[in-house]
C-alpha cells in the first residue's frame, strides 16, 4: 500500500514535545549562574518540597483542562478538605481523632466535592467555569462557617510526620506522596479507560459520544477524580503548616492553571499530559525561587514573572496543533 501517504512531516512537532523541558533547563541554568547555591542538594530538596502540593493540585487540574473544561473550585475544595483533615486528627478544636484515617477521609471529601462540580456542570448544563466558581465560593464559605474564624491547630505529630515533616533518604514525606500522586495520575491517564476518554472528550466530544463513550458520566467522574487530588492536597496543606483554615489555599488556583499551561497543555483540551504539568509546576516553582535567589526588586517581581511566563509559553506550547488560539 505505498499509494497511501501514511505520515506527515512532523520533525518540528517531535522537537516541540521537549520544549517545556528545555525551558525548564534553561531557566535553571540562568538562575544557577547568577546564584550557584541554586544547584545545591539542599535547594533541590526545598524546591521539591515547595512543589509537592502544587504538583498534586495540578494532577487534578490537568485532567479537567484536558477535557477542555476548567475547575475554579480548587481553592474552595482544598480549604474545606484541609479543615476537615485537621479537625479529624488530634487538634485543639474537636475531640474527634482518627489519626491517619483523616487522609483518606479528606481525599474522599475532595472526590465528593468534585463529583458535585461534575453533576452541577453536566446535569444543569452550566459551563464548568461557572459551576466550579460557584461551588468554590461555597466551599470556602462552608470552611469559614465551620470554623467561625478560628484556625484549627494540629497537635497530631504522626499526621504531620507522615504527610510533611518526616524524611526518607533525605527527601520529605510530602515529596514522596506527591511522587505517588503523579504516578497514580500518569497511570490513570495512560492505562485506564477514563484516562483515554479524557483525550477523546477533550478533542471532540461528539465523536467520543458516537464511539459509545458515556460522555456525561465520564465528565462527572473526571471532576470527581480531580477532586480526589485536591482532597489530598488539602491534607498535605494542613500537614505542611500544621493548621487548618479557610484561606489555606489562597492563590493556589492561578498558580495551578499557569503551571498546567506553561507545561504545554492546551486550555482548549485534548493536547497535553500530566507529565507536561509536572514540568510546568517546576518551571513556575523555579521562577518564584529564582526571583528570591537572584534578588529581583520585590515590586517588579510580578512583572518579570509575567514576561517570563509569556516567554515560557511561547516556547513551550505546541501551537502547531492549534489552528486558532483563544
Amino acid at each position: 500500500m505505498a499509494a497511501i501517504a501514511v505520515e506527515r512531516g512532523q520533525m518540528l512537532g517531535h522537537w516541540r514535545r521537549w520544549a517545556p523541558v528545555a525551558v525548564l533547563l534553561g531557566l535553571c541554568l540562568v538562575v544557577g549562574l547568577i546564584n550557584p547555591s541554586f544547584f545545591s542538594f539542599g535547594n533541590a530538596v526545598r524546591m521539591l518540597n515547595t512543589a509537592a502540593i502544587p504538583l498534586v493540585v495540578c494532577m487534578g487540574a490537568t485532567f479537567v483542562i484536558l477535557m477542555g473544561s476548567i475547575d475554579l473550585s480548587v481553592e474552595g475544595t482544598i480549604a474545606l478538605c484541609a479543615v476537615a483533615a485537621s479537625m479529624l486528627v488530634t487538634n485543639d478544636l474537636t475531640g474527634v481523632t482518627i489519626g491517619l484515617w483523616s487522609v483518606p477521609a479528606a481525599i474522599l471529601l475532595g472526590g465528593a466535592l468534585g463529583l458535585l462540580n461534575g453533576l452541577v456542570h453536566v446535569k444543569l448544563r452550566i459551563p464548568s467555569f461557572m459551576a466550579t466558581l460557584g461551588i468554590g465560593f461555597a466551599g470556602i464559605g462552608i470552611a469559614t462557617a465551620i470554623l467561625g474564624g478560628v484556625m484549627v491547630r494540629i497537635a497530631d505529630t504522626d499526621f504531620r510526620n507522615w504527610l510533611s515533616l518526616g524524611r526518607l533518604f533525605g527527601i520529605p514525606a510530602a515529596v514522596w506522596i506527591a511522587g505517588i500522586a503523579v504516578l497514580a495520575a500518569w497511570v490513570i491517564q495512560e492505562r485506564t479507560r477514563i484516562g483515554r476518554w479524557i483525550y477523546a472528550i477533550g478533542t471532540d466530544e461528539q465523536t467520543a459520544r458516537n464511539s459509545g463513550i458515556p460522555v456525561e458520566r465520564t465528565r462527572i467522574l473526571i471532576f470527581g477524580v480531580a477532586g480526589l487530588f485536591y482532597g489530598l492536597a488539602g491534607a498535605l496543606s494542613a500537614a505542611q503548616i500544621g493548621r487548618g483554615h479557610a484561606l489555606i489555599a489562597q492563590d493556589r488556583l492561578f498558580t495551578a492553571i499557569t503551571a498546567v499551561v506553561v507545561g504545554g497543555t492546551a486550555l482548549s483540551g485534548g493536547v497535553g499530559s500530566v507529565l507536561n504539568s509536572v514540568i510546568g509546576v517546576f518551571i513556575v516553582i523555579v521562577l518564584a525561587n529564582g526571583m528570591v535567589l537572584m534578588g529581583i526588586e520585590p515590586y517588579v517581581q510580578k512583572g518579570v514573572q509575567g514576561i517570563l511566563i509569556i516567554a515560557a509559553v511561547a516556547l513551550a506550547l505546541d501551537r502547531s496543533r492549534l489552528d486558532v488560539v483563544k
Binding site: 500500500m1 499509494a3 497511501i4 501517504a5 501514511v6 505520515e7 506527515r8 512531516g9 512532523q10 512537532g13 497511570v187 495512560e190 492505562r191 485506564t192 479507560r193 483515554r196 476518554w197 483525550y199 477523546a200 477533550g202 478533542t203 471532540d204 465523536t207 467520543a208 459520544r209 458516537n210 464511539s211 459509545g212 463513550i213 458515556p214 485534548g270 493536547v271 496543533r321
Partner: protein
Amino acid sequence: MSVPVLEIRGVSKSFPGVKALDDVSFAIARGEVVGLIGENGAGKSTLLKILNGVYQPDSGEILVDGRSVSVASPRQAFDSGIAMVFQEQSILPTLTVAENIFLGREEEFIRFGLISRSRMHAAAAEELRKVHLDIDPGMRCADLAFAARQMVEIAKALSLNSRIKGHVTILLDEPTSVLEQKEVDLLFRIIRDLRDRASFVFISHRLEEVLDISDRVYVMRDGKVVKELSARSASVKDLHQLMVGRQLHHEYYREARQVPPSPAVVLAAEGLSRHGAFHDVSFDLHEGEVLGIAGVVGSGREDLARCLAGHRRPDSGTLHIAGAAVRFAAPHEAAGAGVGLVPAERKVEGLVAPFSVAENMTLAALPRFVSHGAIRFAAELGVARDWIERLKIKTPSPDTMVGSLSGGNQQKVVLAKWRIAGVRVLILDHPTRGIDVGAKEDVYDLIRDMTAEGLAVILLGDTLEEVIGLSSRILVMRDGAITARLDAPPGGKPRQVDILRHMV
C-alpha cells in the same frame, strides 16, 4: 430472502420542523451489500444514525436476526453487531491508532483494571492488516495523512467483525469521499472479502461506486424509500432520476456553456515552492477560464490552493495578480487582492454556522455595507434576498441560521459570499463534496455563470470526471510538481486514463 440480519420496519423520526424519516422499511440479507442513495436531506444519515443508536426512532422497530431489539446507544448497536463509519471523520488526532480503533470498547484489554498496551496493539495490528495499512498502532493519528486516517476509521468499523461472534452489519456513510481511486478499490476488495462474515450498508454520492459494490440499492427521497432495485439492472442515469425525481439534465457538466478563455491573464504563478508540499509550480490563469488541478492526496494541490489564497506562505516563487506582484501573508490579504477560497471543510472554514444566511453572505464584503461606521441592514438584506433568488437557495428567510440549511444550500451561500465580495479569482476546493446531485448541478451552473462574467476559477474537483467536465485546461500534479498540462475544450475533453497516467 431468508431472515434478514438487520431489518427496520416502519421507522419514523421527526426533528423540529422536519419529518426526517417517514415510515421507512429496509432490510439487509446475510452477506449482502446494500447501497443507500438519495439527495442530501433525503434521510440517509438519519437512518444510519438510528441504526447506530445515535438517534432514537419516534416509531417503528429494529430487528436483528428477526428479533426486535432496542438500540439506545452506539455501544448497544455495537453489541448487537452493528458498526458505523461516519461521514464526518471520527478519528481523534490526539489518540493513537490502536486507541482509536478500540475507542469506547477497551474492556477486552483490561487486566487488573488497567489497559494492556501490548494486547491492544497486537489486536490493532491485526485489524490494520485487514486494510493493508502498514503503520505502528502506537502512532498518534495526528501524524497520519488524511486518507490513512480514513482507512483507520474503516479498520475501526471492520474490527467489529473479529469482536463479535456471528454475523455483523457495517454501516459506511460516505467512506470514499476523501479517498482516491486506489484506496477505493482496496476498500471494495476488503468489503468483498468480508462478505461471508458481514453485511454492509453503503452510502455514497458517487453513484458509479454504489452500483459497483452493491447488490441492491435503496433510493430515498424526502424521508421515504421511493425505490428498491437490483444494482445489476440499474444505471447511473436511472439512479439520478429516481433520486432527484425529475429528468436528468442531458448535459451534466454544462459543457455547452464553457466559454473560450480570454487572453487576459488574471493570475500568474512563477516558480512557486513550499517545502514539503510542492515545488517550482508555474502557470497562468486567464479570465473566464476554469483551471482544473488533478492529483492524488499528497500531490500538493491542496497546499498549492491554500498558498494561492493566502492561508499558507510559499517559500519561494512569485505571484502576480493582474500584472502586479503580490505576497500574501494571510487570507485577508488575498481577499483584498480579489482571490477567494471555497474551502473543502465547509462547516469549519466556509460558514459561521450560528450566523444567518445574510450575515454569512456579506461576511467577506462587510465594508461595502457600512456607512458612518454602522452596517446598513436594509442594504444587506436586499443583497441577500437577491442572491438567494439568483442561486435558488432554499431557505425560509435571509435571517435563518445557516447551520440549519442542507449542505448544497450552504455551499451556495459560500459561493454567494465570494460573488458579493466581487473576487476575480475563486479557488474551489472540492466544491461538491458531500452535496447531493441536484445541488451539484446548481453548483456547476453557478461556475459557468461566474466564468461567463469573466471570473477565473481554479478547481480541485471531487472526482476526476468532474475536473474534466468543468475545466477549460487541466494541470496534473504528482509529488508536488506539475506533470502535465492538458487542454479541455468542449467536445475535445481528455480521457480519464490520459490524466491518470500523469497522476500516479
